[in-house]
Amino acid sequence: MSSSAAREKVVTDIPLDQQLLNACAALLLLLSFAMLSQRRIVSLVSLLAVQGAVLAAATLLIAWRTGEGHLYFSAALTIALKVAFLPWLLHRLIRRLQVYWDTEPLLNISATMLTGIVIVVFAFGLAQPITHLASTATRDAIGIAVAVVLLAFLMMITRRKAMSQVIGFLSMENGLFFGAMSATYGMPMVVELGVALDVLVAVLVLGVFFFQIREQFDSLDLHHLERLSERR
């Protein structure tokens, strides 16, 4: 049986899967909004870990219904990297650097949330042509994936602490990963491995970088890093 025929069958027979997947997608979006409103950095990291877990669950679900073996591997990679290792590393960094709270964001929380809603509408508009063309059963989630990416982007823009910006960066990567998952059932394995490696190295480099910033400024607040533009 070809895989597309299998997909068709699954779609018509077991709508429960579909519902579960949509629930996962909705959870991801909800978590993005939760991250937008959260100012405690420790909670942000936990939210990121939960987002990773939901992503892994969605991947497993898709892997199970399509029977594509490499997705199991990809789910395992997500759990190892995004649920276990990165949050652990970030928690460690937070303890060592003593950064527990972000300062007041550039835009206040309620304004950020309202902007977020506009962004979600925009994201669904942007995803329209792709959703129409997609043959995957998960195509409705593409709009949500784009929304997660853009919300993470918004978070990076509005936050002042380096740590929250990095969490925004990782959340953006989660959104992209979910987008690839829902549009095409994941990228080829070699690419996924490469991307995971890059994310891992990026966080390690940032860890080093944080200590350099701290050593120099005694703080991780990014307003210290705004001098070059004045010199111009």
Binding site: I130, M187, P188, V191, G194, Q212, F217, E226, L228
Partner: protein
């Protein structure tokens, strides 16, 4: 096959070896030796392609064609000369107490890693791996930009990381969309659907609506790394605050590699869309970059920032030329990439030594280079004249070709381009002239500067301006044919 293994294996081994012994006294020589090995491999590869044509290797994951092999050769060459330049330069920095042995080790190891990521990005056939390598190039240079740990360099490094990281995330989304469109045509197995050669073969069947969207993301993503306005703000900071050899390779090589990625994507998208939308976008971004950079050039006080903005201008010009499409414009764009890369790295070499002698990167503090060290002074002066597009240097030839083609294809852009070039000329010449002539209070350096790379680069640029050897012209033409259609 063997040549490619060497090409990628040399910098990989270099990175490992130097991560152990990068702080030793002879580390700069080891660094240069590995770069020499890489360059030799690149030469063998280039001669193979000239002889036998394009080649697919390693289950089609890697490929070599006239377009990328010419950039591979250029990258390996500038990598080698920069390694030669960095020998005395980094020794002087160490003698001035600006870098500790540990940081020197980091520097040498990351230098080789950076070369590896760039060469991988150039030779890979897989659009996904291209993305991975481009991100790797950012990551390997972030810690080099912050090598001096000054507040400014930390800020520059942070900006570089966040802006390029976010930018490149857009490119990943573009790549996902590309894969999405390709999967429909090439089958869901996903093994071949990201290979450029396969995509190129079926590009007219790819879904235009998706590819147009993908191109927007890819252009914004890789365009951030090219330094196209308005996404350029990381570039001057990263160039100015890092050590000079890194400024030279960032400006001379990384920007080229990023532009290469954009052009590869453009070829696919244009084949699918059957319209000139991608070209028009390149023209728009390119022209905007030229104008913005020219205007900002006038306000610079730091020598490395000045030439960083000049890089934005020239990459804008090359992007504009790729946007004009057609074989002549593409030929000119490739020539421009070559001469810009050679000239700009030569300028950074000279500027680096000038700043070391003056003890400052501020142009007001650099005076009378000719009396202090005639070779550095002349190097900077000739480099500046070359980059400003004065005949008989190669930049003149490429700019002339670009302008004459633009005159035919997009006549409205000519006044804008000429005005921007004139402003850039006034800004750079007005700054360089007092630095080279006049009185001085500079100091002697503990290690004699390496000026051979400066004059070697300028000599090649001069040669390219006077006479392009027929095999090189054929090579450019083959590459232009590959990109720009018939």
């Amino acid at each position: 096959m063997i040549a490619l293994s060497f090409l990628l294996g040399m910098p990989a081994m270099g990175a490992i070896v130097l991560s152990y012994c990068g702080a030793r006294r002879e580390a700069p020589e080891i660094n240069a030796a590995f770069s020499l090995g890489t360059f030799a491999a690149a030469c063998v590869l280039a001669s193979r392609v000239v002889g036998h044509g394009a080649d697919l290797l390693w289950r089609e994951e890697f490929f070599i064609d006239p377009f990328n092999v010419f950039l591979v050769a250029l990258t390996a060459f500038v990598g080698l000369t920069t390694a030669l330049f960095s020998r005395p330069y980094m020794r002087v920095e160490a003698a001035h107490g600006k870098v500790s042995p540990g940081r020197l080790r980091l520097y040498h190891s990351m230098y080789q890693l950076f070369m590896l990521t760039m060469l991988t990005a150039l030779t890979t056939n897989n659009m996904g791996l291209l993305w991975v390598a481009m991100e790797g190039a950012t990551l390997s240079t972030v810690l080099l930009v912050t090598l001096y740990r000054t507040p400014q360099s930390l800020e520059a490094g942070w900006k570089y990381f966040i802006l390029c990281g976010v930018g490149i995330a857009q490119a990943l989304f573009g790549t996902i969309l590309l894969y999405f469109a390709a999967e429909k045509v090439l089958g869901a197995q996903g093994v071949t659907a990201l290979l450029w050669t396969h995509l190129d073969a079926v590009k007219s069947q790819l879904e235009p609506a998706v590819l147009a969207l993908a191109f927007v993301f890819l252009l914004v993503g890789y365009g951030t790394k090219v330094g196209l306005a308005p996404l350029h703000s990381w570039l001057p900071d990263a160039h100015a605050e890092g050590p000079t050899p890194i400024s030279a390779v960032l400006s001379g090589l990384l920007l080229n590699v990023a532009l290469y990625a954009v052009v590869r994507c453009k070829v696919l998208v244009e084949g699918s869309l059957h319209s000139t939308l991608p070209s028009r976008m390149l023209i728009g971004f390119g022209l905007l970059s030229v104008v913005v950079a020219a205007l900002l050039l006038m306000r610079q006080r730091d020598i490395k920032r000045l030439f960083a903005y000049s890089s934005i201008e020239h990459m804008g010009l090359a992007t504009f030329a790729f946007g004009l499409s057609g074989p002549v414009a593409t030929f000119a764009a490739l020539l421009h990439m070559t001469v810009h890369s050679l000239t700009k790295s030569a300028i950074f070499f000279a500027a680096g030594h000038a700043a070391q002698k003056a003890g400052s990167q501020l142009m007001d503090r650099i005076r009378g280079l000719l009396t202090l060290s005639p070779t550095v002074g002349w190097g900077l002066m000739l480099g500046a004249l070359a980059i400003l597009g004065l005949p008989p240097f190669g930049v003149f030839a490429s700019e002339f070709l670009i302008l004459t083609t633009a005159m035919r294809e997009q006549p409205w852009s000519i006044p804008i381009l000429l005005a921007a070039l004139a402003v850039a000329f006034a800004a750079i010449f007005g700054r360089v002239q007092p630095m080279v002539f006049g009185e001085t209070e500079g100091r002697r350096l503990p290690h004699a500067p390496a000026l051979l790379p400066v004059f070697a680069h300028l000599a090649i640029v001069l040669l390219l301006g006077l006479y392009i050897p027929p095999y090189l012209a054929d090579w450019y033409r083959a590459a232009a044919h590959l990109i720009g259609g018939p």
